[in-house]
């Protein structure tokens, strides 16, 4: 069974169309990264999945309609919608008591165990904790819930790099060993690259890119081209070109055009150093910034000046 299944999902706020007919299917046990620029519709899509907002079109989450069956759904779904949404007045012990009191799938011992690894004291109020500690507390609460779907919307926004790394490490080590589905929406794509099994780009209310990470790795290649072979590389129609440290970096879609023969790894390897593109580079290649535009022009002059 698909964990999330949407067909023609639409949502408009007045004349602004936030979701413009989205089709998506997320199988159980996948870890999906939802990437998009600000205002692309990420949060709206997640809110629809979580039953926080009404929508048009078809949407099933764990076999339920999230808007009309939200109360039942929330027993199997958990989410961190934003950093720092824990109420500031609550004490750590009260938060544990309350979630324990209302959530049938909350394992208090597990949350306590996670908290002992931190410096968070039980009788502290949330307002006394640092932003990073609030996130640790929220994560401790959420990870102790045996949910089938976990939705994270910018879970590490505004945290320093240590807390961000710790967040995803905890998620990987303590949460992923079971068959759970996770959807993460974030701007900080580099940190989740190694965590994901699926990748989705959303732009202006539409899904513009949806691949599994295996597919991404086998299909997209980035070549740091030797300066003398730039023209030859460009002839192979890269998706995108950018400049990095004085060299052209071309991104190729190996399955871009099956009728054209020859664009394969071996051929590209002769042009320069080959590697799997980062999500950020792929994102830029798919969404915008066509080859040879503004940032590229200026960068291209630099190697000439150096030589």
């Amino acid at each position: 069974m698909a964990c999330i299944e949407a067909r023609g999902l639409r949502k408009a706020f007045g004349k602004t169309i936030a979701l413009d007919g989205i089709d998506l299917r997320v199988e159980e046990g996948r870890i999906l990264g939802l990437i998009g620029p600000n205002g692309a519709g990420k949060t709206t899509a997640l809110n629809a999945i979580l039953g926080l907002t009404p929508y048009q079109g078809e949407l099933r989450v764990l076999g339920r309609d999230p808007w009309s069956e939200r109360d039942q759904l929330m027993r199997d779904v958990c989410f961190i919608s934003d950093v720092a949404v824990l109420p500031r007045w609550i004490r750590v012990s009260q938060a544990l008591d309350y979630v324990d009191g209302v959530h049938p799938r909350f394992d208090r011992a597990k949350a306590e165990g996670f908290l002992t690894k931190t410096t968070i004291r039980r009788n502290s109020k949330v307002r006394e904790l640092s932003k990073g500690m609030v996130t640790q507390l929220h994560l401790a609460l959420v990870m102790a819930i045996d949910a089938r779907l976990l939705v994270l919307d910018e879970p590490t926004l505004g945290l320093d790099i240590l807390y961000r790394k710790q967040f995803y490490d905890s998620l990987l080590n303590d949460y992923l060993d079971r068959n759970r589905t996770i959807v993460v929406a974030t701007h900080q794509v580099e940190e989740i690259q190694h965590v994901l099994t699926d990748l989705m780009f959303i732009d202006r209310g539409r899904i513009v890119f949806a691949r599994s990470m295996e597919e991404v790795e086998s299909r997209y290649l980035e070549v740091i081209v030797h300066p003398e072979k730039v023209a030859a590389a460009r002839a192979l129609k890269p998706m995108h070109e950018r400049q990095a440290i004085g060299r052209s970096v071309l991104l190729f879609d190996l399955k871009f055009d099956r009728t054209r023969d020859g664009v394969d790894r071996q051929q590209l390897a002769t042009l320069g150093d080959v590697r799997t593109p980062s999500i950020a580079d792929l994102f830029v290649a798919v969404l915008g910034d066509k080859p040879g535009e503004k940032p590229g022009d200026r960068a291209r002059q630099q190697p000439g000046a150096a030589q």
């Binding site: 109360d71 039942q72 929330m74 012990s93 049938p104 011992a109």
Partner: protein, 300 residues
Amino acid sequence: MSTPANAISEVPMAANISPMRRFCWSVRRELWENRYLYIAPLAVAALIVVGHALGLVHLPDKLRAASALDAMQQQERIGQPYVFAALLLMFTTFLVAMFYCLDALFGERRDRSILFWKSLPVSDLTTVLAKASIPFVVIPMLTWVITVVTLAIMLLLAGGRLLGTGLSVSSHVSFSQTTWILFFHLVVGHGFWYAPFWGWLLLVSAWSRRAPYLWATLPLLAVGLVEKIAFNTSYFGGWLAYRFMGGPERMQHANTTSTMAHLALTPSQSLASPGFWFGLALAAAFLFAAVHLRRYQGPI
């Protein structure tokens, strides 16, 4: 507090949490968050007791002076501090309840914590009912308990002061009668007779994006004003005053509420009167709308 919770967590999968349990935890959560609900009346009660204790010096003189008056006036004169104490506590918790209602569904959206509450399997209905139970049940009961204890302490102090003087306060102030009058006044009067008022405040709290205090009062003012200008009548204002004062009977006595007997429920507030049930129906409609609004509302 955590003992029953621990017992459940040992079998997290098997445990199914009843709606009643979720409701009780939600009420408890409200008390954690809004500690002023009991701190404010307790502080006022402490002030009253201290004030009363200081004033005890003159009590024997006061009683002797009052003995010249007729029985009715005696009762009024001697019972006055107790009535005053009860009214002061009532007024305090009335303000507290008003403040609570306007913040209940507004505050959680302002500080974004609504996103956390909504991530837990507690329905909007349960949440709104738990919040409504504070002004409907919890505050009246709490006020009653605090008032009764305060009056008991005051009477004991007075009794102690009067030992050996041959004078007595208790012969003029019936504690048990007062207790029951207060019970019905608070639980039925403040809890149910004011229900549409609490419902309205909760609705405004769920609806407004800013300044809930203005939204709670200005529309009422506007309705009254429009009625006055259009028809030159003031039925709406009259109706509001009637709801506030507890029926037409109470309004006639408005200036003379000096004995406990005046706090007894009026016929309009009785369960048999249509006004009572109309008020409850109105409150239910407001709460229903508040539940509906909370579903749609995100943080502000």
